[in-house]
Symmetry: C2
Subunit: 233 residues, 2 copies
Amino acid sequence: MFKPFIATYLCVAKMKTAEKHSIKISAEEKIKCSARELFTQKGFAATKTRDIAEKAGINLALLNYYFRSKQKLYELIMEENMIAFRTGIVRLFGDTAMEMEEKIEKIVEYYIDAFLANRDLPAFIISIIHTHQHTPVPDNKFYISIGNAQKVFLEQIKKHLQKKGINAIHPAHVITNLMSLIFFPFTSSTMLKSRAGLNENDFIILMQERKKLIPIWIMSMMETTINSKNIKK
Amino acid sequence: MFKPFIATYLCVAKMKTAEKHSIKISAEEKIKCSARELFTQKGFAATKTRDIAEKAGINLALLNYYFRSKQKLYELIMEENMIAFRTGIVRLFGDTAMEMEEKIEKIVEYYIDAFLANRDLPAFIISIIHTHQHTPVPDNKFYISIGNAQKVFLEQIKKHLQKKGINAIHPAHVITNLMSLIFFPFTSSTMLKSRAGLNENDFIILMQERKKLIPIWIMSMMETTINSKNIKK
DNA sequence: AAAAAAATTAATCAAATGATTAAATAATTC
DNA sequence: GAATTATTTAATCATTTGATTAATTTTTTT
């Protein structure tokens, strides 16, 4: 059984005041926590070292004392996030024993649980992949291709679609739709809330529902065939 | 009939050298064009006025001469983008005469055509809506709610779902999925290309296919019902 | 062509910002 | 408890970066 994603760090900034006093948190931890939040929300360039220091309630010099530079701090946080997330997902994608349908269910569950637990993560992942040419990180240090594991899953989809015959949709649509339905609601929750008139609680309920619904939708999409009726002018 | 979205500006930076010589382009236009590209790709903070000037091949002072400040330039570009995009979409959503199914087809077509013509637009729209608290713009100047038009469309969906009975999915899922399937492939084309092993040309072909496929998928999703089999543990 | 206006440039300013230093304080070791 | 090490601070440096100025060139108007 796959364990759900659990953030491997604790975030002081998000704690209630009462909690804060019960635990003694090192300055180092405070900095990392504040930095993680600011970097995710505003990006590397827009996040100022002074903002981080202020949010963490520490002296500016401590940031350099512990992490050498803003850049190094950023890289450290990125690495932690990616490692924490990647651990489970690679195993899932690459599992050759698991049937495609069950795998889809597990993938959806894993992602949504991870994103509900760490709401900054989806934006993080996308920004790393999308803008790894714009973000000042030593060559794709964090652009961890899911690589081989990904291929296993893709092959399973291809095989399934082949049964549908020559008019089945392209496997890329399946991957695209799966990732779209999982990621997008999180990266644009503000937009969706406003468009569909939801509050934060409604949103969480919907996301829970989606863990069951997305696999159903994906399976039914794979039934779609492309023919003259669909595609031609 | 609704005209497809056409970028209302011409972008010199993207022109072939031959084209550049045939038209004389004002410094003002060059700046706007370069700025648009950089702002979208890297964000406001990461884009330096010197980068814009260099890319446009003009003197740094001209930026302030024409646009007063980096901030003003940013706002101008944002406004142009939003106005150009919004024009058609509000009319579409709000059309009370058009049937829901046809409307979905038209909406998908409109968005995808717009995004294919201006690949920066989806990220722009999302960033405006998502981070309008982080981007330094005078209070939601660009956060144009589709407002009433949106409500018309939402009502049409609700009505359609009511026919399916009490177990039909929440209308928010329909809006969510529609927007997800349209937007996400564009905002994360890099990710999808790598995950599904596509090149740029494959990508465009897939997006064209999606204009026909997404409405089919959305309609079939609306057939899904939530029952104990789907939701309960 | 002279005068006026517009466009462009190089040089420079001022504030923001990442980073360092040297001194002070707290914690740990011996 | 003295010595040593680790942590924290205030002050400061150096670079980046948005913006301005004053002079120069180009274009337009008269």
